[in-house]
């Protein structure tokens, strides 16, 4: 892979990834396009320098770690990993095909993937373990865990929040993709999360609230902290394609050829 082909601008990476996400979910007849478009800006910021992780340092012990705990938004992560040179872009074209290297949830063995995810509430405890081990062994590098807001329904999320605070893990960062929608309905109609940021504050975390589609705000929010850091990134599910935005339908529906074309035209106009 030509290293110069990598993106250094989060905005450019995110747009390129958005095209891939539409294409992947269309070709692979895959779900969760809305979730991927929601989180793609967060991941783009992390993979363009806010987290120190790239194909050249992936085997280094003290690099940063990124775990996408909301494993269903896999098309966003795989797009970014391919575009940043972790594996061949061609792999994206066989997404969710029989026997293909890339399937419908984040799966280990894929270059750049830390943990298989798909069942919610697993990424944070795992990342917490890496952060604790690094603390005890004086290994540098931060651990970023990107979770969904629906994932804050899980007890293991709050168990981890307590443990991280108790051990003052200033090397652990949680980014919540706060798009307000979960599987069947609005998060507040499903199981009230608000006041979400206050909950993290009460659990002892430094908490920053940002626009999850504003690259500058996101970058600034990842600056180091003296305590475990929670970034509540307010996002829009399906961001960038107006007929997918803020709609539960696009948690499941995969775009057909016509819809994919429409989406691409939208992206051309919006970015």
């Amino acid at each position: 892979m030509d290293e110069t082909a990598r993106f250094s601008s989060a905005a450019k990476l995110a747009l390129a990834a958005r095209y891939e996400i539409i294409s992947m979910t269309n070709i692979g007849k895959a779900s969760h396009v809305g979730s991927a478009l929601s989180v793609v800006d967060i991941l783009s910021v992390l993979y363009t320098g806010s987290a120190s992780i790239h194909p050249k340092n992936i085997d280094q012990e003290n690099r940063d770690v990124v775990i996408l705990s909301k494993g269903h938004s896999v098309s966003a992560l795989y797009s970014i990993l391919a575009l940043q040179g972790f594996f061949a872009r061609e792999w994206l074209e066989t997404f969710c095909k029989n026997g293909a290297p890339l399937g419908g949830h984040v799966t280990f063995g894929t270059p750049g993937v830390e943990l298989s995810t798909g069942s919610l509430g697993h990424g944070l405890p795992y990342g917490l373990g890496i952060a604790i081990s690094r603390k005890k062994n004086r290994v540098r590098g931060r651990v970023f865990v990107v979770i969904s807001d629906g994932e804050c329904d899980e007890g293991s999320t709050w168990e981890s929040a307590m443990i991280a605070n108790h051990h003052n893990l200033d090397n652990l960062v949680v980014v919540i993709d706060r798009n307000g929608l979960q599987s069947l309905a609005n998060t507040e109609d499903t199981l009230k999360l608000e006041p979400l940021a206050d909950k993290w504050v009460a659990f002892g975390w430094e908490t920053r609230i940002v626009n999850g589609h504003d690259y500058v705000q996101l970058q600034e929010s990842t600056e180091s902290s003296s305590r475990p850091l929670c970034i509540v990134a307010n996002t829009t599910k399906g961001k960038g394609v107006n007929f997918m935005e803020d709609s539960v339908l696009w948690h499941y529906r995969s775009p057909n050829d016509e819809e994919a074309q429409k989406a691409v035209i939208q992206l051309n106009g919006n970015y």
């Binding site: 373990g129 604790i132 081990s133 293991s156």
Partner: protein
């Protein structure tokens, strides 16, 4: 068994800084020395098995051999998906250490009885289920588990179990461990229930048959050669302080079937007819049908001889 375990673990951890011990807020009077001597290799997670097990997997992913210490069903059922996804799927180097096998915490009630753990743990991919018979075997398998990397489940009794082996035995991975040899049949057991198997041997002796009493510490890697010989010799009775469904006896039956070994097999396991019953370990063993006379009767039935 827990004392034998922690003694060896502490000894190995002094030499090997990659050994890490997590407790789910249990181990009063057992773990203090480890915790104070090796604080950098120890963590009390609190009462939070799901996060604890995911965290254990994360720690293991940084190159550690992580032992997670807890009681009965807490480090298994409460966090089963963390074990399945974060440990087994990811093949992370975690040993789950569960105290209180079977009815070891009998008087504490069914919440503290570990009776389905073997069935569930041995169903998981990559998982090595290890059940030592006595403190001798516990020390040996603990040392073995510090040297390997595989996800493992170590099922221990409690404390003050007698040594069933007269002298320290040799443990070999994948090999059965004979306590006493006999020529007419075989009593295979897992864990501290071996003492009941020994009593059954005495009863069977009175009926004119001599049987081997054999510990099976490695449930996920059974001893084909031993089983072939045992099947040829006479009836095989499996004995476990665990539910009949999916446990040690089931493992033996599956193995015999896969290996096409024809054998006469009897299974002695917990009836679980009255789940609200509490009492001592011996009382609950007897109440749930794990008795020497039942083992002896099962044997004589199969050998075609009933006095």
């Amino acid at each position: 068994m827990r004392d034998a375990f922690i003694k060896v673990l502490l000894n190995e951890a002094r030499k090997d800084p990659s050994i890490f011990l997590i407790t789910g807020d249990l181990g009063f009077g057992v773990l203090e020395e480890f915790a104070s001597e090796l604080p950098n290799q120890f963590l009390n997670s609190g009462v939070n098995e799901q996060a604890m097990m995911g965290m254990a997997a994360g720690i293991a992913s940084t190159g550690k051999r992580v032992f997670v210490y807890s009681i009965a069903n807490f480090p298994t059922f409460r966090c089963l998906e963390q074990i399945r996804n974060d440990i087994c799927l990811m093949n992370n180097s975690v040993v789950i250490v569960s105290l209180g096998a079977g009815y070891a915490y009998g008087s504490l009630g069914y919440t503290h009885h570990a009776l389905e753990d073997i069935a569930v743990m041995r169903a998981l991919p990559n998982m090595e289920v290890v059940v030592p018979a006595d403190p001798f075997e516990t020390a040996l398998v603990t040392e073995f588990l510090t040297k390997t990397k595989k996800p493992s489940y170590l099922r221990l009794g409690k404390s003050n179990e007698p040594n069933i082996h007269k002298v320290k035995p040799n443990i070999k991975y994948g090999k059965f461990n004979e306590v006493i040899h006999g020529d007419s049949g075989t009593l295979l057991f897992v864990g501290s229930i071996g003492v009941v198997a020994e009593l059954a041997r005495e009863e069977i002796l009175k009926r004119g048959y001599s049987v081997s009493v054999v510990s099976v510490p490695f449930l996920s890697n059974l001893d084909k050669e031993y089983l072939e010989n045992a099947a040829h010799k006479g009836p095989i009775i499996t004995i476990e302080e665990h539910s009949t469904r999916g446990g040690f006896g089931s493992a033996i039956l599956e193995f015999l079937n896969v290996e096409k070994i024809t054998a006469r097999v009897g299974m002695i396991a917990a009836d679980q007819k009255n789940l609200s019953l509490t009492g001592s370990q011996d009382f609950l063993r007897i109440s749930n049908g794990i008795t020497s006379s039942r083992i002896a009767n099962e044997f004589t039935k199969l050998v075609g001889f009933q006095r």
